[in-house]
């Protein structure tokens, strides 16, 4: 393969195209949901490495007081690119990728409802991500060097307006996210249509795997809020390019309007990212506890409830702008209400584990880590929902610690769990359990060193997004520990990458069903053939594979 790579330039039309161009052509033109899922997750992981390195640089800068490793401007660009990358170019593609790969397999279908739209969505996402990173090279246009946007991942207008953000760096932020947003919207349309219309016989809504249910709610949330961000970004573009006044306070525009629009998208976006984490946990925890999920109907109802309540909490990001007593109370109460359905889920997962024959393999380890950490994330979230306390803690490192507990302790841990759980299905090879344990423990220790510690400088008053701090505030030791934790996290991820490399270098065959699981994706070979199922299955219960393996005691007799 590599020998022909260097020598041949022949086009695809010629009969003797070298193997690597055929492989490339195959992947670039594919409309197969499995390949697109792998592309989504693979590109998401690449951006994860980039966004992670940005975080490493920031933590290196903050390890010592009055450090001068990074310029203030460079630091602003790094936290902007880190946040934007992790939310839009890591979280979104990875959750879409898993949805793409697994929904058709789980509902017994041969592909998504709109395969070509699916491919379009992926390439829009990738194009949007590349547009964002083009800013490093091109945002000053023909004048030479570029700069990345430095307006923060929520790009508050009027700060991001023409008057205060000169040059084109901010436009790259707007356009990159706008374009990748089209991809997300098309992906959501596809997932809803697939779930509603492509189910195999017997797969009624009440038998859908919880993964599919949760992705359905996520997709509907995307359709509800992502166009709001798109509209707000279009307004910002009109302001910046056409001289419109949406966010122009000089012409009577409102300085808070962007915040409302952004967080109307931005808060549900948190649920869009974390509900898929719940989805992975809801598949993995039962299998590794050898028990049926506890409270299936309650899990579905809680997911829908989270989706609904999520629409009424956005301004808890804005307590400090002075909205008045009535709105403050509304958003504080609504935010605390979110804790109820989320708490139901936590109890259901724990009840699933209770009395089960728990297998502590890598996917389950990460899920247990998720359960504990997400509890902390939820509790600090309820603290922050109290408006008076929020006035003290808003924009401090306490908030940074809180949302990293949600997005790393919650989402990223379940993403790792999902990667270990479904990697054998996708590749037909097992990931090394030994390396997985190293990965888990290193990452767990690193995560807590960095983010549990980070609550304290926040409580002591350290604001987020400062590029450095003086030595006399009592923040030094906490920041130093936070930065040391990063080393452990990076090492953990390196172990993961080594495990992936090893799986290809010295494959250990997985077989179709290595975990003795119960959902339909494990009934086909690993990796699944292009058509998924030779003959489409018929389902009689929520655990079709259990029924197959235990014909004397099938689930459908009890449901």
């Amino acid at each position: 393969m590599s020998a022909s790579a260097g020598t041949s330039n022949s086009g695809l039309g010629s009969g003797a195209a070298p193997a690597w161009t055929r492989v490339l052509h195959d992947w670039v033109t594919t409309v197969d949901h499995k390949k697109l899922g792998v592309l989504y997750i693979g590109c998401g992981l690449l951006f994860f490495v980039v966004g992670g390195l940005e975080a490493v640089l920031m933590r290196a800068q903050l390890a010592m007081p009055a450090n001068d490793l990074l310029e203030p401007q460079e630091f602003n660009r790094l936290f902007t690119m880190h946040g934007t990358t992790m939310v839009f170019l890591v979280g979104m593609p990875i959750i879409t990728g898993f949805g793409n790969y697994l929904i058709p397999l789980m509902i017994g279908a041969r592909d998504m409802a709109f395969p070509r739209l699916n491919a379009w969505g992926f390439w829009m996402f990738l194009f949007g991500g590349l547009v964002l990173y083009m800013s490093y090279f091109a945002s000053m246009g023909l004048y030479g060097a570029g700069t990345a946007p430095d307006v923060g991942w929520f790009a508050y207008a009027p700060l991001s307006g023409r008057a205060f953000s000169r040059g084109n760096a901010t436009d790259y932020w707007v356009l990159g996210i706008l374009i990748s947003g089209f991809g997300s919207i098309s992906g959501a349309i596809n997932m809803v249509a697939t779930t509603l219309t492509m189910r195999c016989r017997g797969m009624i809504m009440g038998r859908l795997p919880l993964f599919v249910w949760m992705m359905l709610v996520v997709s509907l949330l995307i359709l509800l809020v992502l166009p709001v961000l798109t509209a707000a970004q279009v307004m910002l573009l009109f302001d910046r390019f056409l001289g419109a006044h949406f966010f122009d306070t000089q012409a009577g525009g409102d300085a808070v309007l962007w915040q409302h629009f952004f967080w109307f998208f931005g808060h549900p976006e948190v649920y869009i990212l974390v509900i898929p984490g719940f989805a992975y946990a809801s598949e993995i925890i039962p299998v590794f506890s050898r028990k049926v999920i506890f409270g299936y109907a309650f899990m579905v109802a809680a997911t829908v409830a989270i989706g609904l309540v999520a629409m009424g909490v956005w301004a808890h990001h804005m307590f400090t702008v002075g909205m008045g007593r009535g709105l403050n109370i509304w958003f504080a109460v609504m935010t605390m209400i979110v804790g109820i359905p989320t708490g139901i889920k936590l109890f259901n997962w724990i009840a699933t584990m209770y009395g089960g024959k728990i297998r502590l393999q890598a996917p389950m380890l990460f899920c247990i880590g998720f359960l504990a950490q997400f509890l902390v994330a939820g509790l600090s979230g309820i603290l922050l929902a109290g408006a008076p306390l929020n006035w003290q803690l808003s924009d401090s490192y306490f908030v940074v610690a809180h949302f990293h507990f949600v997005l790393i302790g919650g989402l990223l841990f379940t993403i790792f769990a999902a990667l270990y759980y479904w990697f054998p299905k996708v590749t037909g090879r097992m990931l090394s359990e030994k390396l997985a344990r190293w990965h888990f423990w290193l990452f767990l220790i690193g995560f807590h060193l960095t983010f549990t510690t980070m609550h304290i400088p926040g409580l002591l008053g350290m604001p987020r997004r400062v590029y450095t701090y003086p030595a006399d505030r009592g923040w030094e030791i906490w920041n130093f520990i936070s930065s040391v934790g990063v080393i452990f996290q990076v090492l953990g991820v390196v172990f993961f990458l080594v495990a992936v490399g090893l799986a290809f270098w010295r494959p250990k065959r997985a077989g179709p069903d290595p975990w003795d699981a119960w959902t339909l994706e494990w009934s086909t070979s690993s990796p699944p053939p292009a058509y998924n199922f030779l003959e489409l299955p018929e389902v009689r219960s929520r655990r079709p594979l259990w029924d197959l393996k235990h014909p004397n005691d099938p689930d459908w007799e009890h449901e």
Binding site: A113, T197, R201, I204, A244, H245, A251, G511, W522
Partner: protein
């Protein structure tokens, strides 16, 4: 544990005779419904911005100074929803001439709407000096009405494609369901116009 081999034959039936439980739902319809849902939230933001900034312009002109009720445009666009239904029904019945005629009428009515919008805008721009840069009214008005008009143009382009297909005889009754799904989009554009009309020309003046 390889379940694939163990699957009993009675659990496996050929795909062709096996509509899913959800097969009563057509994927095209669900997809279009989702698109319309997403587009609705997009338009809602511009409607909210319009209402939020109503009367907050620092300088003139104000809406009541310059806007006239777009009666002709409204009549054209709303009646085009009827003609497109007629065209879809004719196509489903295999009457391609009547389908083509219905599509042509729809396109002409939509074209009239765009023409009326163009006339209105040129009057506003050259007559009253109102552009997107003038004040908050101009900003929100041109964005909201402009995005609606852009959607009308998008719908018109797709209807033109369908018309070409029908005229060339390439689009028969077997495609009537897809054309019907496209007509949903056209109805949606119509519905948005009713919202825009209420917001801009009734509530806003």
């Amino acid at each position: 544990m390889s379940a694939a081999e163990n699957m009993p034959p009675e659990m496996m039936e050929p795909a062709s005779v096996m509509p899913g439980e959800g097969a009563s739902w057509d994927r095209g319809r669900v997809g279009m419904a989702c698109l319309i849902f997403g587009e609705s939230t997009f338009f809602s933001v511009f409607v909210v911005a319009y209402l939020f900034y109503l009367g907050k312009s620092a300088t003139g002109p104000q809406p009541s100074d310059v806007l006239e009720f777009p009666l002709l445009a409204t009549v054209c666009l709303l009646s085009s929803s009827l003609t497109v239904v007629w065209a879809v029904k004719a196509l489903a019945a295999g009457q391609s001439f009547r389908a083509g005629l219905g599509l042509l009428l729809t396109i002409m009515l939509g074209g009239c709407f765009i023409g009326a919008t163009a006339a209105e805008w040129s009057g506003l721009i050259y007559g009253h000096g109102l552009t997107i840069e003038t004040n908050l009214f101009g900003t929100t008005f041109y964005s909201l009405v402009g995005f609606h008009a852009a959607h009308v143009i998008l719908g018109l382009s797709m209807l033109c494609l369908v018309l070409v297909g029908v005229v060339m005889g390439r689009l028969g009754s077997e495609y009537s369901e897809r054309v019907e799904i496209l007509s949903w989009y056209w109805h949606f554009v119509d519905a948005v116009w009713i919202v825009v009309l209420t917001t801009v020309y009734i509530v806003g003046v």
